[in-house]
Symmetry: C2
Amino acid sequence: MSARLQTPEEYEKLLHQYDTWLFDCDGVLWRGDHLIEGVIEVLDLLRRRNKKVVFVTNNATKSRKSYKTKFDVLGVEAHVDEIYGSAYAAAVYISSVLQIPKEKKVYVIGQSGLEEELANEGIQFLGGTDPADNTLEPFDLGTFTRDPDVAAVVCGLDMKINYTKLSKAFQYLTQNEDCHFIATNEDSTYPSHAGLLPGAGSISAPLRYALGRDPVYTGKPASTMLDCVKAKVHFDPKRTIMVGDRLNTDIQFGKNGGLATLLVLTGITSVDEVTGPDPSPIVPDFYTDALGDFRIVEKAT
Amino acid sequence: MSARLQTPEEYEKLLHQYDTWLFDCDGVLWRGDHLIEGVIEVLDLLRRRNKKVVFVTNNATKSRKSYKTKFDVLGVEAHVDEIYGSAYAAAVYISSVLQIPKEKKVYVIGQSGLEEELANEGIQFLGGTDPADNTLEPFDLGTFTRDPDVAAVVCGLDMKINYTKLSKAFQYLTQNEDCHFIATNEDSTYPSHAGLLPGAGSISAPLRYALGRDPVYTGKPASTMLDCVKAKVHFDPKRTIMVGDRLNTDIQFGKNGGLATLLVLTGITSVDEVTGPDPSPIVPDFYTDALGDFRIVEKAT
């Protein structure tokens, strides 16, 4: 059973219990380009109480650096080293876990943010935003020169997805021996300012289906993302809480990591999925309407 | 157990047993643009023996009419009314089974062949080859005008697949009430002249994943395709044989329709999948190296 937070004491208890607060961003802090009410005050409250604040996003189209400008524009305090994205997690996974040799390359289906994170980790890549691969011209396998140094394909949300990129990635994954298959995240949809569009998990779907195998996912709910946070931030899982709006990514991510979980209803999940007659099997420890609800503790004092 | 055809008598027996011969094309008659040896002679042999010959292809990029030019170019005798394609089956399914009203429209992910077959059935459509939808420019849901008359989305192999098409299709399937989801076929790969590329099933994979539901498939192995053949050709399933190179499409299609099945090894399936230590659960009644093997009956007489 998920506990609905209601009284000032209940919110206060969570503030006492948890030292590290992990936040999903879209649907928790903002919706598209609109800040959600009370978010700035609650983040300030946490910082004043010396809580560690970490932002964990599956958005792989932006690097941490360019994602920080989103916080700046909306007036939300954040530091680059508090931000963890699935593109960053993919780059760290390739360099630290797979440890592919420096002369090897990664074929990218994704946008500039993914490329930036790979470059930061010193990983050579091709594809991505290369104009040659951003085309609707026919792809001719007969004239394609496969690069034997491609040791991995990494796939994130790519709004310039096309048949050339899919075909090249498929070639690398079937023809280059032991070529690794990595996807930033498995979100089926992406919340644009005007509504849902196909997400990163939908962009990798053609490859998954054509290959008949799944990639290693680096974003939530995969533990790869939490491993990235752990490598930089010291925290006690027992005193850490994950706040998110998606059950199958954010809340599952917290559960996989042994963290407490708090669902907010400002994003994709409706209260029915928690309390309805046919609830989700993924049960958050706590839920509340919005992050801004924590302001009640200040009004109460 | 699948029976390997070997002696002239065994081939002759099949010629006696079956009056109607259904053929897959790519991997059976030709590979890409190369005719497979002996095909013309064997098709001539069947016609001389008054067999009904039917060609059943999952290729949805061509209409039956334009597919016939492929036969012409390679010198294979065929008539338009002997050719059944998954695009044709999709159009017939929409007009005859769904019977969507004439003022309603279909949103197309696919190429000109699919559009031609829809037009032949008098179905209004949008998307497809429309230059406005064949773009890599960003898709903005906020400025998108959804057509309330779209009652179905049909998805075939589309080598100009892009985020705009996927996003529009996703909108229609989630926002237009009772919008039907149809895919021409579920082939994961497509055999191009130089090797395998992502197939029609991979093109619909993003939508299937984003929606969390499957389309109605009209191509092999779905019975929709056989229903289309049945509507035009009279045949006795007990005296009909399906000849193909793919176990999970062609052979399964024959089995679903209660037909005899013959696998040829000139396409995608290797003999290991039939006789190896870990054979496929889809077992053809007969198999032979190539369609041309039937020439043995003429040499024997």
